[in-house]
Point group: C2
Chain length 362, copies 2
């Protein structure tokens, strides 16, 4: 199952497959379409964690301690506040270890998303909230729910995401994991920690005054960008029965989809196809001017409509605009939904506002 | 002048000043607020270059050649298309060189934006467009105008951006620079190159068939993220006369501003201040739920209104919501503009849709 997903993702530019020469094992990088997906995922993480509705969170460079001091001062020594960091990092495996690892992972389908992609691409995304001891436990629970909701919000099957039980250490530190259940086993995604004496900061730094002096607790969420990316690829994969055959596709959430709109053309002769091609290009420019990521492949009309749809479904594009002979007569276009395969008809002048409306909400 | 800008930027978390111990020279990193600004700049670059209205551009990892092959295949061997890369890189100076460099730069105010920030933070942003020889020259000119327009769009004084004359090499390669004119001299920002035999790709790769076989030309735009960041800080700096004094502020474009909205409170007694504080917090949550980056500093009301405004102006926040005693009676709030210092009155229930409208367009 996982192999099938990785194959389809590589075929469609989400991943990039490289054969390790000696041992003939496939290794995966992020492909061009995958980078678009990753960019959307980063942005949604940013919206959820940094422009977080409850607490002011400051982004940080690698020096979290400096940022902490800045934030503490900025907030006039008042809790709560948070700091967040996105940090590229490398894991150093030697290549024999990598090969051994891949072999085992691919054979048993028991692997960790974090390790499947080549390691130079990895990015740690970490957010730490500083909070008074009185509020820390209730906020820890709220934060758990909020983060699980984030994973569910973008999922084609939200039920697969769950929180582990809380594991406590002797010093009072509590750990919770968010994981996703797949056919091939459970996949750990994110770690949440409530720490009553965070060693990354000095006890002097963590001292705050509110009526009396106390030491701030920290609540930390930690996740890898490549884990998020691979999870959204696996989550979106679907094999749906369709007209006696199987339809393979990626059901990306519309906020995450690398491309939001594509074009399918069907014309009876060369002249009308050329005209439809120009119309599609014009509509594509209009959509892109509104920052809607739009795919237009010139001359895609040489393929049948079904193969055009198939390609777009496998790229996970939520809606395809169908232009045909009638469009040139009456200006009516069809908007085909990837998920339902149904079409609705709208006038060509209404495309941009209609698409904006479709993509506004979650 | 530059020193004054760097001071103010460091004071407000856009930059972070570190004193090099032995020689007592200041060195600069990006501060927490600067990271928010940088994030917005990256996003706008992404919108302009990747979701570019004319040509399909694919993001790339470090292996541009792989991405090229993918893109060529994806576009059924048809020109034009493009690939774009964001790549972290380090410059290796030894520390004596750095110190020498900084000394000279700060003294003479003749420095290159790229080199002012610590080097580990630097990111190269590069976009290459592949195009037929017939169209390359006219597209090169169009691309120059388009990129200059991008710089001007976000500027408080667009006149300072200009294109250099075209410099041609013997093999036909053409270079153009976009630069900005400051008090302390001209600052080079972006390089545009039209290359007729791009050596980064094999002649086999660059061969396309369109009626007959030909070699694609490439048009490349190259810029550093730290250059963009420092330029937008310097561009936004302003010293405006105001009520017999001088008002120092950053006039960030509303799409770039690290925070879009802040709150100023003014109340006559403790009870009404506490109520206004709760209202501000509620409005802040509403705005953030709509992904509007909003700053709320609890208990900022201990400062006078003027000092609150001063802080927000120096953070470059375009609008501040003023809540006062009347707000509790009739629900009217004032929205103060950073640029004009004028206020307009709106009802509290209209804040979110009104702010969304303010920030929708460029």
């Amino acid at each position: 199952m996982l192999n099938k997903i990785l194959e389809l993702a590589s075929k469609n530019g989400l991943l990039k497959k490289t054969l390790l020469p000696k041992v003939k094992i496939d290794q995966f990088n992020i492909g061009p379409i995958g980078l678009l997906l990753q960019n959307n995922l980063k942005l949604e993480w940013f919206y959820n964690v940094i422009i977080n509705k409850d607490i002011t969170v400051f982004p940080s460079d690698n020096n979290m301690s400096d940022t902490f001091d800045y934030a503490k001062d900025f907030c006039s020594q008042k809790l709560p506040f948070g700091i967040a960091e996105m940090k590229a990092y490398k894991k150093s495996y030697n290549s024999d270890e990598i090969i051994e690892y891949y072999k085992k992972a691919i054979d048993t389908e028991k692997l960790c998303f974090e390790d499947l992609l080549r390691h130079e691409e990895n990015m740690l995304m970490k957010c730490t909230i500083f909070i008074t001891p009185n509020n820390s436990t209730s906020f820890f629970h709220q934060w758990q729910r909020q983060r699980r909701m984030w994973w569910r919000k973008f999922s084609a099957s939200p039920g697969k995401y769950s929180l582990s039980d809380i594991r406590s250490e002797e010093d009072g530190t509590q750990f919770v994991e968010i994981s996703a259940k797949y056919d091939w086993g459970s996949q750990s995604l994110e770690t949440l920690v409530l720490d009553k004496q965070d060693r990354n900061y000095s006890s002097n730094q963590l001292q705050f005054k509110e009526k009396k002096f106390m030491q701030a607790h920290t609540i930390t969420s930690q996740v890898n960008l490549s884990t998020i990316l691979l999870n959204s690829i696996c989550d979106a994969f679907d094999e749906a029965p369709f007209q006696d055959k199987k339809r393979l596709l990626f059901r990306f959430h519309r906020k995450l989809a690398p491309y939001k709109i594509s074009f399918a053309l069907s014309g009876s002769n060369q002249a009308s196809l050329a005209e439809l091609n120009d119309l599609a290009m014009y509509l594509c420019k209009q959509l892109r001017s509104n920052h809607i990521s739009t795919l237009f492949i010139p001359n895609s009309s040489r393929l049948t409509l079904d193969s055009q749809y198939q390609q777009y479904d496998q790229l996970g594009i939520p809606y395809t605009v169908l232009l045909n002979g009638n469009t040139l007569k009456n200006g009516i276009i069809s908007l085909r939904s990837r998920d339902t395969t149904l079409k609705e008809q709208i006038h060509v002048t209404e495309l941009v506002p209609y698409v904006e409306k479709l993509y506004r909400n979650y």
